[in-house]
Subunit: 261 residues, 2 copies
DNA sequence: GCAAAGTTCA
DNA sequence: TGAACTTTGC
């Protein structure tokens, strides 16, 4: 059986919010290392990968591997009933029909309990190869969100170019063109604002802004986002979850081919 | 060529925000005295006139007269990408196809650059006659905005009556009637709150509230607004820009005839 | 704590 | 497309 307890329901709410527009139904794979999720988006262009390790939970117990096939729309409806500071518990039997979700308000005066019916979802196994990325950019999540939103006003796609000086986001559309250039910098006074670039070779790739804007819904989950790029390989957009637990929410997005100019 | 630099992108953002709902496309006329704009609104009831003198810029250079025909919708999209405290630069060639807009964040770690395509706009020349107004009211811009917003809940139009005692805004609608009366006063402790009236003869005119509410989007640009009125002549609503540079944003609105009761 | 902006729903 | 609600910045 599974019994997992999160002290902040908001973490789970935000994770589900960030992926529900990409994926309708998916398996939450539970085992003794935590809860994992991997799913392609409906058009098979993007891939979501989430991992909540046991340390991210206030308490965690899972004796056997359990796959909870959940409709994210239903889950969203239920999670809407949770206060952000509620304690959230997930419970399931070993061969479950339902997942049981309990919210306890911090004052403990209110306990809400929901059961969501599970579904069988074919586990299309997704081999994500380990990649040594040519370039890795760490930047404030809010800034990345801002850039994607700004540029999406001009174009459908954005070119991301990483060089040792910095990272440049460029796009061209009907009304004109735009570019945002960030210089790598270590802001000592305000480390949240730092922009870090690790690079073995320069990379320039083009991606759909619609998807990037979508990924950025996860910005509330983390101060920082990591962009990892290599030529001809999907971009990896990574948000760390629950600092120091190795938990993460990752999005992969295939580059647009032939548009890179 | 044109090369103009504003230390506060927010000034330009707010100016464009305040006029974009009145005018879709218009010429920014650049010459060695600064940047000027004049345009009728789409229904030819209101007129916008903006003048940014060279002193309003951190640096300004414009060798020849250049008319930049810009779609304000496109410009808004681009300006949305500017931080309020960014340094904004406008650049254009002598016979330009595009205007180049650069935002530099105060930390200088971020440089965004946009090109907006220009369009040819027929310069319908707008002769605005110099008028000696019968009455001139100077009041806090926020207060004028509040009054217009409040009264627009009741009616489509407002009567503005200026007498030597003060100014009175009156309207009548289906659910009832409303009026706001302001007495002229010089608030010595808080001069921003002063209401000043200069008058050669009493005036009472009626105007569309929809337009006035629209004009009030400029309230963020200035603490004060000046209302200038004369019988049978358009109302002039004036916001000074960049204190002490003679720059301004003006709106003219023709009175409603026969509605004055 | 309020106003403006964005997002979602009708 | 507009309106209401939520969210964010001042």
């Amino acid at each position: 059986m599974l019994e997992a307890r999160l002290t902040q329901a908001s973490l789970f709410k935000k994770v589900v919010d960030a992926i529900k527009d990409l994926v309708q139904d998916c398996n939450f794979d539970c085992n003794d290392s935590g809860i994992n999720l991997q799913a392609m988006d409906n058009s098979h262009v993007a891939l979501v990968s989430m991992s909540l390790k046991t340390d991210a939970f206030a308490s965690f117990r899972c004796d056997r591997n359990i796959a909870l096939g959940i409709n994210l729309g239903s889950l969203t409806k239920v999670l809407r009933a949770a206060g952000n500071d509620d304690v959230l518990s997930l419970k399931a039997e070993d061969a479950p029909d339902v997942v049981n979700i309990v919210f306890e308000s911090s004052s403990q005066d209110r306990i809400s309990e929901y059961d969501i019916k599970l579904m069988d979802i074919d586990q299309e196994h997704l081999g994500i190869p380990e990649t040594d990325y040519a370039a890795m950019v760490t930047m404030p999540a809010a800034e990345f969100q801002r850039i994607c939103r700004d540029l999406s006003a001009l174009s459908e796609s954005v070119a991301i170019e990483v060089s040792k000086e910095g990272v440049k986001f460029t796009c061209t559309g009907d009304i004109g063109s735009g570019s945002v250039q960030l210089r790598s910098n270590t802001n000592v006074e305000n480390p949240k604002e730092s922009i870090e670039i690790e690079m073995t070779e320069p990379v320039a790739l083009t991606f759909s802004l619609k998807y990037l804007v979508n990924f950025c819904k996860a910005s509330g989950l983390s101060d920082k986002v990591k962009l990892k790029l290599s030529a001809e390989v999907p971009l990896l957009v990574e948000y760390p979850l629950s600092e120091g637990t190795n938990s993460f929410l990752q999005f992969y997005l295939a580059p647009k081919i032939g548009d890179e100019e």
